[in-house]
Amino acid sequence: MVEFTEQAYDDMLEHAHDGVPHEICGVLAGDRDTGVVEDVVRVENVSDTPRTNYMMEPEKQLEAVDEVEEERGLDVVGFYHSHPEGPEHPSETDEARATWPDHTYVIVSLGPEEPWVGAWTWTGHEFLKQDVDVGGRGEN
């Protein structure tokens, strides 16, 4: 299970809304052992097709990872990105390009309904669905 603090969850949703109509992306910072996400770090989406894809520039990705690990003393729990118009699951592209085994991939879907947040663990071969909780509320 992934458990967001309310602040981290709200920051991630705000990032997703700010990015519309483009996808946004970032790093989930917290404790990998417990799955608690305490903070999110925004990373610019440099994809040439940002409405339907995301890409982190390696230099900026490294800066974000170092910020999480060295400056804040937290773990990289995983990563998040948005689907401004859905779907509420990893796309074929997400699966084809997944590279961080045993890390959490979170998707914020902003379809016509309320925002929906889903989380998956990339095993190295497939995405396994995880439960998502926010501040102990029991969200998804």
Binding site: T52, N53, Q61, D94, R97
Partner: protein, 66 residues
């Protein structure tokens, strides 16, 4: 030559390479597809076809999707 590769959120590996090796060969030695990871030297990505001239590098799995 020996290169120390800090794989982010992974392990640190000492890799022995030919003196004229390029960074793609370093990724290959570590088991990475060049499309799935990049080598950074002093925090900056280096081309995979560039000759290895650093003793300490960072290897970062790339992040992209749809």
């Amino acid at each position: 030559m020996k290169v120390t590769a800090d794989v982010k959120n992974g392990d640190v590996h000492d890799v022995e390479l030919a003196d004229d090796a390029v960074y793609a060969e370093l990724l290959d030695a570590l088991g990475f597809n060049p499309e799935a990871a990049v080598v950074l030297v002093d925090g900056r990505p280096v081309p995979e076809d560039a000759r290895v001239d650093a003793e300490d590098v960072v290897v970062m799995r790339t992040l992209s999707g749809g």
